[in-house]
Subunit: 196 residues, 2 copies
DNA sequence: ATCAAAACATACTAATTAGTATGTTTTTGA
DNA sequence: TCAAAAACATACTAATTAGTATGTTTTGAT
């Protein structure tokens, strides 16, 4: 990789971590410069302004990461109800990068930036729609293969699952550890069981 | 009411609205002064600093409002599954003060202030615990009265319901209207039906 | 090797922010 | 009524912020 590209990527990655922990508005450019050891001149060479960097984070960091975590596990054949549960369990319990006290990066950004920042709103909307359609597809597939009852509304179930995830990620910020996650997952299992 | 008390209350109410719409950090004290027509001297006579005002908003505006919206409807006897659905329907569809594009005040504040602001975290935790315990109580009552299956775990269901609400309030910020709310409510009804 | 463009570095600016200092006016209790 | 306290008003400060102006250094193609 070219050196300049490496600089740009460092900025995106470190800024993403800072924003995940502190929030977008409260992460200053000086914060980012301090942790990356990049100078202001370099920063503004790579990005027109802070928002352009923020959008690059969504499109070049968040989107691929989510595609890997949320989309890939559902492309397999097999019982989508099982895959959905395992995906959630992995995200909430196993994933070492997502800490309960900091919530979910995409959910945090959505809460902070919508509806005022139109560009962020649109980018985040694409992100969630991508996840939504994948879940719906997996559930429809599950209906065809007999894993899911035929009267189940895939879009409704998807919204229930996604809402539950974002919600428990936010509720979980209030307690010390993963208690809320554990309780949520147990009930998610019951709910998913009721769909076949 | 004393004039001074009225000034204080005006600040709390208008600031609450501004914070709901714009967020806590991005609502400046000058914003609040401009919309309330209160001067800086008056503001700092009533509040030591911005955070003290924020905490007063939680304890004196949010808490009573939530007690009215979330707690009261569940104190009745009768089928808690029905009451929960109607509460959600009322909050998401009927309530004229809560706009999809601005989400849920308590959820927004939780996302923005935790874990860094300890005082806010604690106040918001009390708020949600209050709601949680009320929901659990209503469900346990429903079990005793035969409205809810006995093998249902009230705390788990409560977490599912609360997570779903906060989650869909955040997801809903991304679309124009209440489509997500409608879909969520339909599936919530199915889910609640599976509990009796 | 050279030179132009790319990449980076440093010092500055203008706006915004929470909070303070120091007043004046209004209310209240004896 | 009248003084003291409560309530409010205004001007200021110091820090932080995103962004700019103006450089120097590095890179890569010829």
């Amino acid at each position: 990789m070219k050196k300049a590209e490496a600089t740009r990527l460092t900025i995106l990655q470190k800024a993403f971590e800072l924003i995940y922990v502190k929030g977008y508005q409260t992460t200053s450019i000086d914060d980012i410069l301090a942790t990356t050891q990049v100078t202001k001149g370099a920063f503004y060479y790579h990005f027109k302004n802070k928002d352009e960097m923020g959008l690059a984070i969504i499109n070049e960091i968040l989107k691929p990461t989510m595609a890997e975590s949320f989309i890939a596990p559902l492309q397999n054949q097999g019982n989508p109800l099982v895959f959905i549960y395992e995906m959630m369990n992995h995200l909430l319990i196993d994933n070492p990068y997502l800490k309960p006290e900091f919530g979910c990066p995409a959910s945090n950004l959505t809460q902070e930036m919508t509806p005022w920042n139109v560009d962020f709103s649109q980018a985040l909307n694409e992100l969630t729609k991508q996840w939504e359609e994948t879940l719906i597809g997996a559930l429809e597939n599950g209906k065809l293969n007999g894993f899911v009852r035929n009267d189940v509304n895939a879009r409704q179930v998807t919204l229930m699952v996604m809402s539950g995830y974002w919600g428990v990620r936010n509720l979980g910020k209030l307690d010390q550890g993963k208690e809320s996650y554990v309780l949520y997952l147990k009930e998610l299992k019951n709910y998913l069981k009721s769909l076949n």
